[in-house]
Symmetry: C2
Subunit: 357 residues, 2 copies
C-alpha cells in the first residue's frame, strides 16, 4: 500500500513553555519529531504538553517553525479495496476502530474519531447516508452532505481511512435484499414514528462491521436508542466488535450537536434550546427527589411547548440499558429521551436524570 | 489451552509402495511423522500418497506398526470460550474453516469436514439443532440427536473444535430478539411450505459466522436453496467468509443422505428411491433435448406419484444461481429441486439437469 504524507492543519500547535526546544514531540500518533528554530537562544528543553488541541492552554506560545508530518487519510470507495486493506491490517495483528457516520461531520463525530484514534491501531471512518433508514416522507434527498469538508476533519483527527461507499456498493442486490432487525427495541420511541428506521440502521451497521472487521465501533449517545439497539444486535448475533458509546456533545448554549442543526432558521435554533432546558429542568426536579414519571415529563414538556414552532413527538423516561419505559414511578437510574420537531426540523435529545451536571 | 492427544481410527492407513520406510508422514494436517518397523529390509524411501482415505488405492500395503498421534477434537459449549479460541487462532494468522451442522452426522457432513480440513488451518464443526428454523408443527423435538457418535465422527475427520452451544448461548436475549432475513429467495420452494424457516437459518448462520470468524464455511448442495440464500446473505451483508458448497452425497442406491433418513420405515426407504430415480429420468429427458419445464417435471412426478405413500410438496426447475423459477421453457443450465413427504418424513433432493451422471 502506497502511503502519502501531508502537513496537518494543526501543525503549528506545539507545547513550549518559556524558551525554545531543539526537538519536540507532538501529541497523538503518526507524528514525527519536529525541529524548532528558536527565536531566542535558551536552554534546549521543551515541555511537551499532553493535551488535545481543544484543551491547549493559551499561555503557551509557538516559537519556531515546526515541520510535522502525518499520514494522509486514504479515501476508499470500493468494498473489495476496503477488505484488502482490512486483511493486511489483521495480518499485522493490529486493531481496528470503526466510526460509522452519515457524514456532514461535527464536533460530536470528531469526538468519536478521537476516541477511536486513542484506542485502536487503525481508524476507519465511514461516510454513508444510508437510504434504508429513511422513510419515504423523510429527508434522505436533502440530508446535508459535504465530502471535502468531511475529509479535512477526518484527517485532522488522524483517521487512516475514510470509507465512502455508493449505495450500490453496500446494497449489491438492491435495497432490502437482506434485512437485520432487532425486535421490540426498534418499535418504541423514535421507532414508533419512524417505522423501519432501526431495521435500516441495524442492516447497514452489520455490513459496515463485517466489512471493516472492527475490534471497536464508536457511536454517540445522542442516538441513544440506536446505540442500545446496536448493542443488543451485536450480543444477539455473536458479533465480536465491542460497541462503544461516547457522550453527547453540546454547543456552549446547550444545543445537542446534529448534522441537521444547519437547517434550523435563526429563530428555530433559539427555540431548539428549549429541549436541553427542558431536560435540565426535569433533571433538577429528579434531583429534588421527584420520582413521578408524569411530573418529570410535564416539567420538560412545558418548557418546550412554550415555544411557538415546536411539535413534540415524544418525551419518555426509560431504563438506560433496556429502554424499558416508565409511565408512573421511575427508579433511581433513569434516562429522559425526546424527539421534537422545531420549525419543521426533527431533533432528538436525551439526558440521564441521575447524573450531576 | 490444554491439548490432549489420541490415536485416530485410521492410523493404520499409510502410503507405502513396495518396500518399507523408516519415517513417513501421514496425510492431512496435525500429524506427526511415524516410525515404521519394516518387515523386509529395503531402501528407506517412502511414497507419501496425497489422497484422502476414501480414494486410497487398494494396491498399497501397510508394512509396519505406525505410531501416529493426532489432536483430540475439543468440545466447546460456551460462546466466550469459542471467541477466546478464535482470537488465539487469528493472532497466529491461521485460517478457520467452519462446518455448521444440526448434528446426527452422516457421510455428507463428513465430506464437508474433510473439505474444511483440506482447506483451512483450523476446523470448527458446530452441532446445533436450531429451534428458530422449525415451524410449530415441525419435528424440532424429535429431530435425531447423538452427541457421542458425532464427536467420534468429527474426530476421525480431524476437526479441532466441536462447538455444541445451548439454545440460551446462541439466543442470549431469547429466540427472535434479532432476525436476519433474506427477502424473496426465502419464500419460494421450501420456504413456501416452511414460513420463517430460512429466516431462522440465516439468523443462526450469521451468529455462527460471527462467533467463529471463519475464513471458509462449508454447506452441502443437498440444501441447495439454503446454500443459495446464505451466499446472497453473505454478499448482501459484506460477510468476509467464503461460502463453499459441496456436492450432495448419495447412498449407493441413490438415496440422498439426510439425518432424517433414520426415521424412514424399510418400506418408506424403498419408496424414497423414487426421488432420485425421478430426477435421473428428468435429466435423461433433458439430455435428449427436452426444454419444456412441464414435461420435465411430469417425468419426475410420475415416478414419485407411482409410490403409495408419497406426497409431493413441490417439484420445480430453477436457475442454479438465482433460483429464478421456470414454468415453461428452461435454459441450458437448470436445476430440478423437490420436496416430498415419504411415509410422513419430509425429504428434499435436487439435481443439475445439465450434468452428466
Amino acid at each position: 500500500m502506497r502511503q502519502r504524507w501531508f502537513v496537518p492543519e494543526r501543525s503549528g500547535i506545539l507545547s513550549l513553555e518559556g524558551a525554545a526546544a531543539p526537538y519536540a514531540a507532538i501529541w497523538g500518533r503518526d507524528v514525527l519529531t519536529a525541529r524548532l528554530y528558536p527565536k531566542y537562544a535558551a536552554t534546549p528543553t521543551a515541555g511537551v504538553h499532553p493535551a488535545t488541541p481543544q484543551s491547549f492552554p493559551r499561555k503557551y506560545i509557538f516559537y519556531g517553525i515546526i515541520m510535522t508530518l502525518s499520514k494522509e487519510t486514504r479515501i476508499i470507495r470500493d468494498a473489495k479495496e476496503l477488505s484488502a486493506f482490512v486483511k493486511s491490517v489483521k495480518h499485522d495483528n493490529k486493531t481496528i476502530g470503526l466510526v460509522p457516520t452519515m457524514g456532514y461531520l461535527h464536533e460530536g463525530h470528531l469526538s468519536l474519531i478521537r476516541a477511536a484514534r486513542a484506542k485502536a491501531d487503525v481508524v476507519i471512518v465511514s461516510d454513508f447516508v444510508n437510504p434504508t433508514q429513511f422513510g419515504p416522507s423523510e429527508d434522505y434527498a436533502t440530508y446535508p452532505r459535504d465530502e471535502q469538508a468531511d475529509l479535512a476533519k477526518v484527517q485532522s483527527c488522524g483517521a487512516d481511512i475514510l470509507f465512502i461507499p455508493t449505495v450500490e456498493t453496500l446494497y449489491p442486490n438492491g435495497q432490502g435484499s437482506t434485512w437485520v432487525e432487532v425486535q421490540n427495541l426498534g418499535n418504541i420511541l423514535c421507532g414508533a414514528s419512524r417505522p423501519g428506521h432501526f431495521r435500516g440502521v441495524a442492516t447497514v451497521v452489520t455490513k459496515l462491521l463485517w466489512l471493516s472487521q472492527a475490534d471497536y465501533a464508536f457511536f454517540g449517545e445522542k442516538d441513544y436508542q440506536q446505540l442500545t439497539i446496536l448493542r443488543r444486535m451485536a450480543q444477539d448475533l455473536g458479533c465480536p466488535t465491542e460497541i462503544i458509546g461516547m457522550p453527547l456533545v453540546r454547543e456552549p448554549d446547550g444545543l445537542a450537536l446534529s448534522s441537521r442543526n444547519v437547517r434550523l432558521s435563526p429563530d428555530a435554533r433559539k427555540q431548539a434550546l428549549s429541549l436541553s432546558r427542558g431536560l435540565k429542568k426535569a433533571r433538577a426536579l429528579f434531583g429534588q427527589g421527584c420520582r413521578d414519571a408524569q411530573k418529570l415529563i410535564a416539567e420538560a414538556q412545558s418548557e418546550i411547548a412554550a415555544q411557538p414552532d415546536t411539535e413534540i413527538q415524544y418525551i419518555s423516561l426509560a431504563h438506560p440499558d433496556t429502554l424499558e419505559l416508565y409511565t408512573q414511578q421511575v427508579p433511581d437510574q433513569v434516562m429522559m429521551l425526546m424527539a421534537v420537531k422545531v420549525g419543521g426540523v426533527r431533533l432528538i435529545d436525551n439526558m440521564r436524570m441521575d447524573e450531576r451536571c
